[in-house]
């Protein structure tokens, strides 16, 4: 009874912090501070996921939602500030900074606020109504009931990689499209600063640990929280760290190997699915005896694909070759330690 009350108090606090951080993110005057608040929001959201018994989502949120999204956004803010600093004789381009005194008439935010409040009330009422009258089991009963046929014991992995595999296949396609789109925009100019010695030496320990963690998450995803997305995100974090520590290529291979890894996730998924189709089974219909092994195979390929895609997205599309390519470089430092 007391425990329930304490838990409800915790819930209310978490919700308040969450909404407060969201509000602060949107209202902050400085864009860099806004991104940092957004990262904090993501981490609190990961706590909420853990509270709601969603550990898979919590790991993914912390690694991808807060971590990698945050890294991408921070890099964008840094690039903007650098560009603004260089364009000292172009003050008009300071529109990057929050200059609300622009062309928006004061009535519009009010009208928008009223509109969004109305929308919120309508959706909230519909949601409450649905919770009250909707079927409590939803799909959980079916999924948990047929879990044994799926080849894994983690229900989320079963849904992602077996029952609703079509979604995951297309979602890996979405990742690939984003990568191809980023690459098509041409080589990005990404000057980087030389690494600090502390970070450079820390990386020597961190990268193996991250690789181990990623491998563990991939392996354990079959029967415990984890899986390809979480593992891929952890490996991508390692790549970002390498880049920050001075390794220009962030540990990525070049040329054909990189292309192969990038498409490998979709390729493995599609190959397995079509092989099953040609063997007389439904598309992506894993036989129960082999399902676990096939899922692990697909997840392994997907982990690598997710990792290299997210690292390349952070690098801005082009992996710098050993000779530096078209990047303007600040005073060079030796490459970071080998992972």
């Amino acid at each position: 009874m007391m425990a329930e009350l304490a838990l409800q108090l915790l819930d209310i606090m978490l919700v308040a912090i969450l909404i407060g951080l969201a509000w602060a993110t949107l209202e902050s005057k400085d864009e860099g501070r806004g991104v940092v608040l957004f990262i904090a929001f993501g981490l609190v959201l990961a706590l909420v996921w853990a509270r709601l018994a969603a550990p898979d989502v919590a790991i993914a949120e912390a690694a991808i939602g807060a971590g990698l999204s945050g890294a991408l956004l921070l890099a964008a803010v840094r690039d903007q500030k650098r560009a603004a600093a260089q364009a000292t004789d172009a003050p008009a381009e300071a529109s990057w900074e929050a200059s609300r005194g622009g062309a928006v008439p004061p009535a519009v935010p009010w009208a928008l606020g009223v509109l969004c409040l109305g929308l919120a009330l309508m959706v909230a009422w519909a949601f409450a109504h649905a919770l009250a009258n909707g079927a409590p089991q939803r799909l959980a009963g079916e999924v948990l009931g047929r879990l044994s046929e799926s080849g894994v014991t983690n229900p989320v992995t079963a849904v992602l990689l077996n029952f609703r595999a079509c979604d995951t296949l297309l979602e890996l396609g979405v990742l690939l499209v984003a990568l191809l789109g980023i690459q098509a925009l041409g080589p990005q100019r990404r000057p980087y600063a030389p690494a600090e010695p502390v970070l450079a030496s820390l990386v020597r320990w961190l990268i193996p640990a991250l690789i181990l963690t990623g491998g563990y998450l991939l392996w354990v995803g079959a029967h415990a929280p984890g899986g390809a997305f979480q593992a891929g995100a952890v490996l991508a974090a390692g790549g970002v760290l390498l880049r920050l520590a001075g390794r220009r290529s962030a540990g990525l291979p070049g040329g054909a190997a990189l292309r192969l890894l990038s498409v490998g996730g979709v390729a493995a998924f599609l190959a397995v699915g079509l092989a099953l189709l040609l063997a007389g089974r439904p598309f992506l219909g894993f036989p129960s005896a082999w399902a676990g092994a096939l899922i692990l195979l697909i997840e392994a390929a997907a982990t690598l694909a997710i990792a290299v895609t997210l690292i390349q997205a952070y690098l801005g599309g082009r992996v710098p070759s050993a000779d530096g390519g078209s990047e303007p470089r600040w005073p060079a430092t030796p490459d970071g330690p080998n992972p």
Binding site: F127, L139, E142, A165, V174, P282, F283
Partner: protein, 488 residues
Amino acid sequence: MTEAVVWTVALPLGGALVAALAPRHGAQVGVAIGVATLAAAVAVLVQVASGGPLRYAVGGWTPGLGIALHADALAALLLGMANLVALAASVYATAYFTQAAVRERFWSLWLLLWTALNALFLAGDLFNIYVTLELMGLAAVALAALGGQRPAVAAAQRYLVVGMLGSMVYLGGVALVYAAYGTLDLVAVSTRIAPEPAAWTAMALMTVGLLLKAALFPLHFWLPPTHANAPAPVSAALSALVVKAAFYLVLRLWLDLFAPVTTPDSSRLLGVLGAAAVLWGSWQALRAERLKLMAAYSTVAQLGYLFLFFPLFAGLPEGSARAAAFGGAVLLALTHGCAKGALFLAAGVLQRRAGHDRVRDLQGTAQGLPATTFTIALAGVALIGLPPSGAFLGKWQLLTAAIATGQWVWVPVVLAGSLLAAAYVFRVLGHAFGHAPGPGRRVTSVREELPALALALIATLVLGLGAAPLWTLLAASAGSPAFGGAPF
């Protein structure tokens, strides 16, 4: 052999992977896979025509637990049209791109867009629709920005943000549906749905999200710059197929899923917005200085016609009149897809030759490209809605239904829209036929001009004269419980 539905998705996806690994051979891969995919789509259409709607459970799991692919007459016809237009644009694209860097990037993105389109038309699960919408949207954005030119990139970024907004709103609706009905399968939801707050809030959210992607007035602001600045084959796909896919989803949701929840008032709202789109789009097309911008505004207008059908569906009782109106809507959608594809491809040819696409200065170029000019004329006939194009039959059904239900207000809108369309089409043709025709070859470049010509001929002749089998196909499929209850 219902596996054809899987091949329509798996073939372009596999082709995209090959094109990403071997970019130099992208064009060969693209056209070869395109032909194969079109064959698979035709196989689906043939199966649906002879055997009724198809349903394929991916992974063998019962739909609900797993994801199902559906193909009824509506989906199969649109699938066929989409694959045809995509193949034509692919053939054109083999000759369009001059810069190797752009050309190598194009094909993998293009095939991924193709995958998304096919997966969307066949989707039978609400969340799967969300993922296909995102795949389609991101691929379209990446293709629209290809080349890195500033106007194209700026328009593409706006398109991306609008698309993200639409997707999030749509996903909110999906969450409500799952909360209330505990399933994501279209058939299952349609059997459980009832008029209650969760249902119509979900319908509102999902519709708004999809209207953003379908560019219905007033949510159309992102379309003209995006379509006008993209490379020509991409513009063809965007105008003919991508926005059509969003319209298809609205049609599917309103007629099949949310049928008990829609009200005549909400249908009338869609009709009003459609009418505004017709008038505003046609007017802006008339004022456009560039051919591609004119074509983009014409898309806004033509989509308006499609949304005019919604109040008519609401007003007609179930029966042959409603089936005829539905057939008209589908025919209009198919014709516009082919005609707009043809127009953008032809505009691309003109732009390549002349270096620009300003309507006023097209004379010399158009003289030297008789096949392309003929294509524009044919496509124009289909856009105006003159006989024997499929659009004529579609608009005829629109007018008949409007008079039959007593909703006279749509009649002047359709007539005004058609008059304005005639005005902007003849304006272009008038500029094109400025001088006396000079001696020259009929078709200067087969790869560039034939696909557009073929599409225009289909739009203007085949779909109009060959509409009867289409009607019987739609009517036959309408009666079967593909979606848990006959819509007509």
